[in-house]
Subunit: 223 residues, 2 copies
Amino acid sequence: MENTALHYLERSLPFWSRLSPAEQRELIANTMPQRYNAGQNVHSAANQCVGVLLVKSGELRTYIMSDDGKEITLYRLTESNVCVLSASCVLNNITFDVYIDAERDTEVLMINAACFSRLLEQNVYVENFALKIAVELFSEVMWTMEQILFMSFDKRLAIFLLDETSRLGSDTLSLTHEQIAKYMGSAREVVSRMLKYFEKEGIVRLSRGAIEIARKDRLKDIL
Amino acid sequence: MENTALHYLERSLPFWSRLSPAEQRELIANTMPQRYNAGQNVHSAANQCVGVLLVKSGELRTYIMSDDGKEITLYRLTESNVCVLSASCVLNNITFDVYIDAERDTEVLMINAACFSRLLEQNVYVENFALKIAVELFSEVMWTMEQILFMSFDKRLAIFLLDETSRLGSDTLSLTHEQIAKYMGSAREVVSRMLKYFEKEGIVRLSRGAIEIARKDRLKDIL
């Protein structure tokens, strides 16, 4: 393993100093750089236990999917986030399935699932690290669910558009209504109807495959 | 503390043997029996950090609530379950609010939140215990959410009725449509409409305040 990758491991894993020298060597020997292309599936029910992923660059999207293909985005992981649900087979208490896709070209360090499982068995600090990350996700997922279950759709769409503009640092979003519906776990018709309402109100300007936020202040008023 | 309560602590807390004698004494000194009447609120956003609750008998229901009072039941705790979300202030990674009510007359052992917080800071096995319980809840909540978000309502209602009959060991449920709607995070009208459909199909018999499951096999066919 190259030196920069080793430094990245030390920096990203708070349990590093709690590992014995032998455990550190085992971890290093079982960690590999890996690339995913934008759109590539990283993890699914059929493709379990890829391992623990340390995101170096790019973006991973985690979602659940119904039998008929409806998706709900749970959360996104970017630089220096650690993905443990991609190793859910080693966490006995995680009994649900998620899908993980690369949203952009993504570079990760991948810790082999079998190795991580051994370390987790023998070192309580490794186990607590993985559990803590899962509990943080729990909080994020609860927030997402409350939005979906309780909020009116205008609020949800306003939040989505504001989040995207700040995430991308641009007031013009290159997204189809179909894509927005997919990300929000909604239907294209519902998204189109609300966007047209926003356009009529002068809040957004719509063009083919793009949405320009014209009045961010008015979008914030909806919240 | 009486001897039976002490035995209950030892049996319910897997980290007991990992505590120092001083930590065990501190825990005993900060644990009290507590009773809740059926319907009583145990924990809410306004009433944080009751402490960790070890259920001895009865039933606690954990739910989330929207601004306009709509409730969604996340999970139920019964005998020998441990409730950590009632001490969410001591778990840094839990950032969402839940409500907890006693569904029946309920007896618990309550570990004081400040004491549990100290133990959790100083003993990695106490932290491990609390995190594991939280992650198990995560899995339960995900299951509930997937049901709500993805399943058609006839399936959800069929599952609810089957779960209740097996939970209570009776084919007659003393529940109003209003109560079912509340437990399922739905509207009374929706529940009534589906129950009437089930009645027309000969699957249930409806009377004032009660639902008799006439054809459990047909209910199972819906799943």
